[in-house]
């Protein structure tokens, strides 16, 4: 690690709130990456009749455990459980529901309040809220990260080209961005989602189409400044190609500003997905989505656990991202000394 990066990392670490936020966020994200192991309707491991079975990876017929049907084993069925327990043991995940498992053994009508089986209650279709939050967090962050990555890559490239070449390229690019960013994104999304059935990648593509502009301004400004630096002139005089000058000499200056923005872009991307889901134009029906859960909370005011739990998760996630963002911003600011 170069000295300057080491200093920036140390400055970031010195900001305790940001540092712990990064840890907590990283921990949460890491945990949810293994959601299948934590919340799943299928057992993790079964020991039956001298052999091991991994139902959460592979599907087994009921007959393999001495049952009568050729159909896949239903592990929620007390009869199957009895069969297995008679000749071995069973290891279930902490939460015995996946995001789309419907609990048919509810005591009252869905949505049912928090209980020992459903820690945060169930939603209006009898699905476990805790499991949906876990999977929902994962898909939100993954969506956010992918969108941030792609939109930054496009934005930085566009800004770099505009700023470095300036003149006509710059003017045309700027006018295009002005027009493009004034298109009513939401309506376009609504129209598009009535034409195609949006899935993860569709949504990513559409939001990317209208979301890549956030970094163009900063990067362009840095390049407009940076292209007149004497060491850039010196590089030109050495006979370096434009491509090499851009990457080697000017881009590192723009990266500071870009990286500073990234946690905030990540937060923004997650907000976009959540609000689309909330409006019902987001991920396909049945996907674990925080926005959809919020909408359910709004529709079922008599079941406050829906709204409250999704609200708490979202606010914690955004607070963490903002704290991290602040820390990154201060770490890259050379005037700040702790």
């Amino acid at each position: 690690m170069k000295k300057i990066h080491e200093e920036q990392w140390n400055r970031f670490k010195a900001n305790k709130r940001a540092y712990y936020s990064l840890y907590v966020f990283g921990f949460l994200f890491f945990i949810t990456l293994f959601s299948e192991l934590i919340a799943n309707e299928k057992p993790l491991l079964i020991y039956y009749d001298g052999g091991f079975y991994c139902p959460f990876i592979k599907e087994y017929a009921e007959t393999s455990f001495g049952g009568e049907f050729e159909t896949p084993a239903d592990y929620a069925d007390p009869y199957v459980m009895e069969l297995i327990n008679a000749k071995g043991w069973i290891m279930t995940p902490i939460i015995p529901f996946s995001y789309d498992t419907i609990n048919y053994n509810l005591e009252g009508p869905a949505p049912s309040p928090p209980s020992r089986t459903n820690w945060l209650g169930t939603d209006d279709r009898g699905r476990d809220v805790m499991a949906r939050l876990l999977y929902g967090f994962r898909i939100s962050v993954l969506f956010g990260l992918t969108l941030t990555l792609f939109s930054s890559a496009i934005g930085i490239t566009a800004g770099a080209v505009q700023g470095y070449y300036g003149g006509t390229v710059d003017i045309l690019g700027q006018r295009f961005i002005e027009i493009w960013s004034s298109l009513p994104t939401l309506f376009l999304l609504i129209i598009l989602s009535s034409v195609v059935q949006p899935n993860f990648w569709w949504l990513l593509g559409i939001t990317l189409l209208f979301g890549w502009m956030s970094l163009v301004g900063v990067v362009r400004a840095e390049f407009l400044r940076g292209r007149n630096f004497e060491y850039v002139m010196a590089a030109k005089a050495l006979g370096l190609s434009d491509f090499r000058i851009i990457f080697r000499h000017v881009l590192p200056n723009a990266m500071v500003a870009s990286i500073t923005f990234m946690p905030f872009i990540l937060g923004g991307s997650i907000t976009t997905l959540t609000s689309l889901d909330f409006l019902g134009f987001g991920l396909p029906v049945g996907s674990p989505s925080l926005g959809e859960l919020l909408a359910q909370g709004k529709a079922n005011m008599q079941a406050p656990w829906l709204g409250i739990s999704s609200f708490i998760l979202l606010s914690v996630m955004f607070s963490l991202l903002v704290f991290i963002g602040e820390g990154v911003r201060d770490a890259f600011d050379p005037r700040k000394v702790y």
């Binding site: 300057i4 002139m233 005089a237 050495l238 006979g239 080697r248």
Partner: protein
Amino acid sequence: MPLTRERCIKMKDALLTIENLSVSFQMGKRTTKAVENVSLFLQKGETLGLVGESGSGKTVTAMSILRLLPGSAVYPSGAIFFNGENCLTLGDDEIRKIRGNRISVIFQQPMTSLNPLHRIGKQVKEILFLHQDISGSEADNKALSWLERVGLKNPASKLSSFPHQLSGGERQRVMIAMALINEPDILIADEPTTALDVTVQAQILELIQDLQKELGMAILFITHDLGIVKRIADRVAVMKEGEIVETNVPNVIFNSPTHPYTRHLINSEPKGKPDPVDDKDETLIEVSHLKVFFPIQKGILRRTVDHVRAVNDISFTLKRGHTLGIVGESGSGKTTAGFAILKLNKSTGKILLGENSLNDMDNTQIRDLRKRMQIIFQDPFGSLNPRMSVAEIIGEGLSIHNPGITQKEEEEKIITVMDKVGLDPATRDRYPNEFSGGQHQRIAIARALILKPEFMVLDEPTSSLDRSVQFQVLELLKSLQKEFHLTYIFISHDLKVVRSLCHDIIVMKDGVIVETGSSEKIFSHPEQGYTRQLIATAFH
């Protein structure tokens, strides 16, 4: 404490006494010593020149008098007596009464010392209202008369101008008017002429001297330029690394300096002649009718209504191994011309490098030619990418022009060239911020030299360096020229440096050539009035 008020008063006629002053800067846990045990005194009506290279602590000493240093400054020892009071222990209100009233300051940068959002008149009058009980119309009159006194043309219209509407010299005159309007006892002038062109420099110095005679004030004149000190100071104090090494009258300092550092400073004034060259050398560069115009665009359609004629029709030839000096004040187009010759900006006209016509070639062809022509920039630090190590900086051009060079060969070449320019090859993995100004320029020279160029444009390569470092860099350039038979175009405003290095000279003004000829001829028999004026102010 050995110093007492009694002792200070005993010092005859001393208006201001600095006793054993030490100043340090506290950055976190680190303490940097800037000034150590400096003692000075200033008598009524005299001019004390405080001389030293950058970082010698001369500005810190002067700014301590009015406590204008940032909050990180601490004073481990010493006292500054003015009017029998210690400036270092005065309350904030009391020191504020002295600032701009009894002791005034003129700063180096006339561009940034004035607030760009307020009219000149308002800024000048502000000082009057702060320190005097004066009515609005009286202040108007006084401001007007002072603008007249500092030699501004049309003072009445200048009152309602904004700073950007004034030239650098005019702004410095306004700063002087602001500093002197309350008729202070002491004027601290911190490099007041460094940022100005030579001809303007001379006028400002004259103005300061005239006003000193009228008002009878004392001046603490801070500068790195020995020529100025020789001309205006009654006494000279030489500073080095935070300490005063010698104080005396200019006559003694310049003719029989006692301290080796003073001798070193005086001897590092550029002198000597360029190494003789043969007139029969082949022509390497031929420039004819070179023009660089920047369009002025107006209206929504950005129609070009006129051009800024930065370089307007210049022609010259340059023989291999010779040095051509391009001389002129700021805005004369000398740097633009240098860049145009290297195809770093767009130009029209013919530029021949050997048999290659640069303006008829496309970018790829030019890129191949770049190893033959190189440039050294004015700002040595700015021309080095701070994120790259010295070896990366020097070696960068090498891999472009010699594809297929092995890492070992590259390493060897870097080491050889670093030796050549006087850098320790062991430092090649360090970053530019760990080197000094002179070393930065050596790195830049190494970067150019490693490509084995035939021709180099030197764009004020020494003007941001201290005199003694300047001297070393010039010597290096000279010896490299001899060894590799290099051809230089040397762009400078400093005629002393130009005389010691250049065989031929072009004097430029407003984009055109005023006079051209051999160095000897220009300096001994300048034909044009402008050239004479330049020479007169440089070698006063």
